[in-house]
């Protein structure tokens, strides 16, 4: 009880409320602009939050992270263009409903589903905290090493039909994290006698390049699409009652979002993919899916909004980010000398509760904002894409230059921007590079730290936790190879 009261003390500060407001409203606006997305926004704002109080900086970014997907549903439903990549599945049924003049109903369904997913995951998080607090301190170096390995394995195999390139990019990310001076023998690694490479590749520089600059370049070299002003017809209540009718779908999808969010490396895409399939499986009219089924919107939106809070679990408890956005969050924690991991739950539990409370309020503020301001938000969708590119490039400068006021950082950022541009043009994934970079560093540290207790390779998995995680890795890989083999056989038969 004392802990909760102490967390309220943090949470009731006026500056925390301002951060919540800016983060949540800003997140919705960013999410509603196709071509920006929370990854770009967080990458840009990350360095700006370094000078802030930890809870303020993290709350702003958390607000953007937690609310962008709410906004992303608006263009997905109205103009068939997802505001954020994870809203892609919403276009299937959302846009079909818009074509049937049920846009308002679809939007309201998306809002309430997102809200349910968001709140459900926070409640799950609060209930699980005591369990996490008990389990997290049991994690030793070998367990964290295995958990990081699990994250990498899952991020690779979750890129369906792109697993090989995802594997290569994970190793590329791991490699670039080794460049520079290493911390044990203080020797140079892959610096090619260049002094500017001694400090290695900064995560923020790489992030900004791969996410923000590359996106700016894609927009700047592309063409503007003419977007007609979408109209919202129908009442809000119709959507709400529709949502109540399918509340079971919302709850199942939220559960799926929480489960998928907790597993490192999986994230929103698989959460909504599974939820969508489950919703179709239990629907009385499965043939409507993809043609304007309300359950389709509910499943996709509830699942993807349940992920952000759940993804905080491996991050806070073990210091292992499950996807690119939580990897960005991790760097904010480090900058403010808050080291996520078992110690956070033992000694700074009030901080953790403060974050949960902020997330809770973020969802409520977003919901109120959307119910009041959706019509005004429609204008944002019409911002010309190439002008957005100029703005993102200008903002990227702030992000990268404020790190060290270094011209070299900007060149590196531009280099990764071009690399990200090529990857995006080829439709290749970027997230594995970031996770490889973050988890690779963690793995190298834990690999070295665990050596004192290692006599042979079996010692890595002879602890209950590391053994269990290893078993999960083996099962996940077995399932993956089995699925690939089955598809191959099926193709051969055809």
């Amino acid at each position: 009880m004392d802990v909760i009261l102490s967390s309220f003390e943090i949470f009731l500060r006026w500056d925390v409320w301002v951060a919540i407001l800016i983060g949540s409203v800003g997140g919705v606006i960013i999410g509603a602009i196709p071509g920006v997305g929370p990854a770009v926004a967080i990458a840009i704002l990350l360095p700006a939050t370094y000078s802030m109080d930890p809870i303020i900086g993290i709350t702003v970014l958390l607000g953007i992270y937690g609310s962008a997907m709410y906004g992303g549903a608006i263009p997905a439903i109205l103009i068939n263009t997802p505001g954020t990549p994870v809203n892609a599945l919403t276009t299937y049924d959302g846009y079909s409903m818009t074509k049937d003049n049920k846009a308002r109903r679809a939007i309201t369904l998306a809002y309430w589903s997102s809200f349910t997913g968001g709140i459900f995951s926070i409640i799950a998080l609060i209930f699980m905290t005591s369990l996490i607090a008990k389990v997290a301190p049991l994690f030793g170096s070998r367990d964290i090493l295995m958990a990081a390995l699990l994250g990498l394995v899952l991020v690779v195999i979750s890129h369906r039909k792109q697993t090989v390139i995802a594997g290569m990019l994970v190793f590329f990310g791991m490699f670039i994290s080794t460049v520079g001076m290493e911390s044990v023998k203080y020797t140079k690694r892959f610096t090619f006698d260049q002094s500017w490479l001694l400090s290695g590749f900064d995560l923020i520089t790489v992030l900004l390049g791969l996410f923000a600059v590359s996106q700016a370049l894609i927009l700047l070299t592309g063409n503007d699409k003419k977007v007609p002003m979408p109209s919202l017809k129908g009442g809000k209540h119709e959507g709400f009652f529709g949502f109540i009718k399918y509340k079971t779908v919302a709850i199942i999808s939220s559960c799926m979002g929480v489960i998928m969010g907790i597993i490192p490396g999986v994230g929103e895409f698989l959460a909504q993919f599974f939820s969508y399939n489950i919703a179709r499986g239990i629907s009385k009219k499965p043939e409507r899916f993809g043609k304007g089924a309300p359950e389709g919107i509910i499943a996709a939106e509830a699942a993807n909004n349940a992920v952000p809070a759940a993804a905080m679990i491996p991050l806070l408890a073990l210091g292992i980010p499950g996807e690119a956005l939580t990897a960005m969050m991790l760097s904010v924690f480090y900058v403010h000398s808050i080291i996520p991991g078992p110690d956070l739950f033992e000694n700074h539990i009030d901080f953790v509760y403060g974050l949960y409370e902020s997330l809770f309020i973020i969802n409520i503020i977003v919901m109120i904002f959307l119910l009041v301001a959706t019509k005004s938000l429609l204008r944002i969708i019409q911002i010309p894409q190439r002008f957005l590119g100029i703005t993102i490039l200008g903002l990227s400068f702030v992000g990268v230059y404020t790190l060290r006021n270094s011209f070299v950082d900007c060149i590196m950022c531009a280099f990764f921007g071009i690399f990200g541009y090529v990857l995006k043009k080829l439709d290749l994934p970027i997230v594995p590079i970031i996770l490889g970079m973050v988890l690779g560093t963690i793995m190298e540290q834990k690999f070295r730290a665990s050596q004192a207790r290692i006599d042979n390779l079996f010692n890595y998995i002879d602890r209950p936790i590391s053994g269990t995680i290893f078993a999960i890795i083996v099962i996940a890989l077995s399932i993956h190879f089995w699925v690939v083999w089955r598809q191959y056989k099926k193709k051969e038969t055809n």
Binding site: P47, A48, S51, K161, Q162, T163, V164, M168, V170, F171, F172, M174, F175, T178, E182, V184, K185, T187, K188, R189, F190, T191, F192, V213, L217, L220, T221, P384, R386, F387, G389, I390, T391, L393, G394, S396, F397, V398, Y401, T402, N405, F407, C410, I411, A414, G417, I418, Y421, V422, K425, L426, D427, L428, G440, F447, R448, Q451, V484, Q487, Y488
Partner: protein, 174 residues
């Protein structure tokens, strides 16, 4: 083996990646150190070697996958056309780096206004309203980050030529 629909440019990409990993593989003995009488896990060479070997294996497998698809659906002309299109963003990268170079000289405010104004013209938005919106956006970014959030951006050399009071004001806020 999984096969993805073939997209032009993949072959060029994988060739570049293969060249890249080959250079890294060759460089391992020169770019990392090996210490005698030091356990394997503490060798600075171990981890980068592991990463490069992993990258190489996946690159080789990916190139095999791409080659299989290229043989069926690829065309060398499309590959070269796609490769040429990768040069398009360099123009904007140059503008970006010029902007970075200009900030310590002309100051954040002036550089940003120039960057937004010129890039807006370059992108073909030449109406007065778009130019004003562009300048307002640039000004808004400077005010939000430099004046309000006080991010660390070096002040422009040009500010030293301003009268004393103005000089300090601009150095702190713009």
């Amino acid at each position: 083996m999984e096969k993805k629909e073939y997209q032009a440019g993949n072959l060029v990409f994988v060739i570049i990646m293969l060249l890249f990993v080959s250079v890294l593989l060759i460089s391992i003995p020169y770019q990392t150190k090996w210490f005698d009488n030091v356990p394997l896990v503490k060798q600075p060479r171990l981890w980068p070697t592991f990463c490069i070997v992993g990258m190489t294996l996946f690159s080789v497998f990916y190139s095999f996958q791409i080659w299989q698809n290229y043989k069926i659906k690829g065309k060398i002309q499309s590959e070269l056309k796609e490769f040429q299109s990768w040069a398009k963003p360099f123009e904007f990268v140059v503008y970006f780096l010029l902007y970075v170079w200009l900030v310590p000289l002309a100051g954040y405010l002036l550089s940003t206004l120039l960057f937004f104004f010129l890039l807006t013209i370059r992108e073909g938005y030449r109406t007065l309203s778009m130019l004003l919106i562009s300048l307002a956006t640039g000004f808004g970014i400077v005010v939000a980050f430099k004046s309000l959030l006080k991010v660390k951006i070096s002040s422009g050399a040009i500010y030293e030529y301003l009268p004393d009071g103005w000089s300090t004001f601009f150095m702190i806020y713009f």
